[in-house]
């Protein structure tokens, strides 16, 4: 089966500032692909290029195997949902949803005021359209709102109307530009659920832009992370979390953020934290400074340490429901804070102001070279400084 969407070497610059360079991407039919990245990484621009609202400087966009570079947004058979909903302010919800179908099925003449009443087939077409609006409205539970203007709807309701307007055309591709970022936290969680559900029911391909990694992690089948206009990594949420390809990806994905500790490669390739070996060996790479990434849940604190371990002082402990987050300062390097996630029932033993030893399983650690890219590692059988 051919790809639902393919991007080939897409580049774009606004004036002299490059926004996107050489983006390659292939999306399978029915995928929920999130484009994530910090603001300014080019993800919205990429979405606009897919939609046809913006033209790429070079490269090709193919939708369902067909190059669409010269096609208008309308001819691409896509639908887009915008951050601020972008509903037509003076039209009712029903008119908003009807508009794309009206444009598809009525000629320009049949849409003109006064003249449109002369068209014999207009009535029939409009009846068919209102039937389809009814179906979509039922699916999204907005039937009671159809007569209202956008100004009389709440944020969540507007977002549903915007979704209905996108769905009613039955497009092959749904493009969503941060559609949940204007909703309050509770509603956002709820709409996340609804969107995932909608994606499953429709079986359509979703391209979803967000700067919120939690949205990307919870909803997507795959995530493509952009950084500085380049594709930093693409993979399942688990891939990005468990094997981040670069420091940027590691820092962006996961909440609380991953701990990055300054480390050093010795000439034999051993990864050293200060003077202490970590049990991690880089498969290649020169001696010199590297970064060691540790997820908060992969660090173990040891009250009494027999072995040589990096030490840290507990500064603060935060209640997060099932877990507690412990904020520590490394003894050797006071600038480096450390966050450790501990299940609630194990926290009693940790007291602020006390100093603890830091332990971790080397196979859970991520190693990044001076360029920020992930380095291949292996672990030594005899662990030094690691938790038992």
């Amino acid at each position: 089966m051919e790809h639902s969407l393919e991007l080939e070497r897409i580049s774009k610059a606004f004036g002299k500032t490059g926004v996107l360079s050489d983006i390659d991407l292939a999306v399978e039919p029915g995928e929920f692909l999130s484009l994530v990245g910090p603001s300014g990484c080019g993800k919205s621009t990429l979405l606009r290029i897919i939609s046809g609202l913006e033209r790429q400087d070079s490269g090709q966009v193919r939708i369902a195997g067909r190059p669409v570079d010269v096609l208008s947004p309308r001819a691409r058979n896509i639908a887009m949902v915008f951050q601020n909903y972008a509903l037509y302010p003076h039209m009712s919800a029903a008119e908003n949803i009807a508009l794309p179908l009206m444009v598809d099925r009525l000629s320009l003449l049949e849409r003109l005021p006064l003249i449109r009443h002369l068209s014999p087939r207009r009535k029939r077409i409009e009846a068919a359209i209102s039937g389809e609006i009814g179906k979509v409205a039922e699916a999204l539970q907005i039937e009671p709102l159809l007569a209202r203007k956008p100004g009389q709807l709440s944020g969540g309701q507007r977002q549903r109307v915007a979704l209905a307007r996108a769905m009613v055309r039955q497009p092959s591709l749904f493009l969503m530009d941060e559609p949940l970022s204007n909703l309050d936290a509770q509603l956002r969680v709820h709409m996340r659920d609804e969107l995932t559900d909608l994606h499953r029911r429709l079986g359509a391909t979703f391209i979803y832009v967000t700067h919120d990694q939690i949205e990307a992690m919870t909803m997507s089948t795959r995530i493509a992370m952009l950084d500085g206009g380049r594709l930093a990594q693409i993979g399942s949420p688990a891939d990005l979390y468990e094997r981040p390809a670069s420091l940027t990806v590691a820092r962006f994905i996961g909440s609380p953020a991953i701990n990055i500790l300054p480390a050093r490669l010795d000439p034999q390739g051993h990864v050293m934290l200060g003077a202490l070996p970590t049990g991690l060996v880089a498969s290649e790479g020169l001696a010199g400074p590297v970064s060691l990434g540790l997820r908060p849940e992969h660090i173990r604190l040891h009250a009494a340490c027999e072995r040589a371990m990096p030490m840290a002082t507990l500064r603060r402990s935060e209640h997060h429901g099932a877990d507690r987050l412990l904020h520590l300062d490394l003894t050797e390097n006071r600038q480096t804070g450390l966050i450790v996630r501990v299940p609630q029932d194990e926290t009693g033993q940790f007291q602020p102001g006390e100093t603890y030893g830091i332990g971790f399983a080397p196979e859970k650690a991520h190693l990044f070279g001076p360029s920020g890219l992930r380095m291949a590692t292996r672990t030594l059988p005899a662990r030094i400084g690691a938790a038992a």
Binding site: R48, S51, G52, L53, S72, P73, R74, I78, A79, M80, F82, Q83, N84, A86, L87, Y88, P89, H90, L99, P100, V103, D104, L108, R111, R165
Partner: protein, 283 residues
């Protein structure tokens, strides 16, 4: 919000009274000429010059003055002319200025900044500057003494382009993009999506335009010789010269009649007008 307390403290009362005194003086300056026009229109002729500043007429002469004005001057003709000229000018102004303003506000094309600078420059040029060349051209084509001659210099309103451009700029780009994805062309986006949201600004401009051209004396005086085409002020001028002489009562009755439509239009569109001026049409 703080509840208003009664009685007001002395300081606030004073400030309140002071502010209103200033406003009242301003209002009096604006309204007195109109009030005097009305009072003169209902006075007997002998009382107008001898009555001094006594605002209350001793004898009411309204019926005589107004019927004299209606009979002696073709006031209805003047007003029909005024309606034709004002609506002709306004319609073309809107048809030209709205697309131009949309392009300047929302479309990206080379030379946009230069064109907008030209619009700003155009704002600084009064009608007296191009009056002579326009007059010569109209004379050359034999178009003097026509409705067209009275309307043509005003078809292109840089003020309208400027005002609408500022209004359209505030219109969210996302909605335009949504409309493009939905398949609307730029003209349809403009007239079906953008214009309905800019109605307050359009109403405000319409009032400006109608008032300016209903009251315009300068340009019609240059291009119109025949009374058949005269708009209200020029008509009144012809009328004052030829028929009434010093009959101010009749003259003021005529002036009252031709001012009335403007007052009515403004009262009808007042809310929209204020909205448009304060630019709170859309968020």
């Amino acid at each position: 919000m703080k509840a208003v307390r009664f009685p007001l403290p002395a300081g606030r009362l004073l400030r309140f009274a002071g502010a209103h005194a200033v406003l009242l003086v301003g209002a009096a300056f604006m309204l007195l000429p109109f009030l005097w026009m009305l009072l003169t229109a209902i006075r007997a002729p002998d009382e107008i010059l001898t009555g001094g500043l006594n605002p209350i007429p001793r004898s009411f002469h309204a019926v005589e003055n107004f019927s004299a004005a209606m009979q002696q001057a073709p006031l209805l003709r003047f007003m029909v002319n005024g309606v034709i000229i004002c609506s002709g000018i306004l319609i073309i102004q809107l048809l030209v200025a709205i697309p131009a303003a949309y392009a300047l506000a929302k479309l990206r094309f080379p030379g946009r900044g230069l064109l907008f600078a030209a619009v700003i420059g155009g704002l600084c040029i009064p009608i007296q500057v191009p009056a002579l060349p326009i007059y010569l051209a109209l004379a050359e084509f034999g178009l003097l003494d026509s409705y067209f001659a009275m309307m043509v210099p005003f078809f292109l309103s840089v003020f309208a382009i400027f005002l609408f451009r500022q209004t359209f700029r505030g219109f969210p780009d996302e909605i335009l993009q949504a409309a493009r994805v939905d398949g609307l062309g730029e003209f349809e986006i403009l007239w079906r999506i953008v214009v309905p949201s800019a109605l307050p600004a359009i109403a405000a401009f319409s009032i400006f335009s109608i008032v300016a051209h209903w009251n315009d004396l300068y340009w019609p005086m240059i291009v119109i010789q025949r009374m058949d085409y005269a708009p209200p002020p020029l008509g009144m001028l012809f009328f004052a010269n030829s028929e009434t002489g010093a009959s101010y009562g009749v003259l003021m009755a005529g002036a009252t009649i031709i001012t009335a439509p403007l007052v009515i239009v403004f009262l009808l569109a007042r809310r929209r007008f204020v909205q448009g001026i304060t630019m709170t049409g859309i968020k």
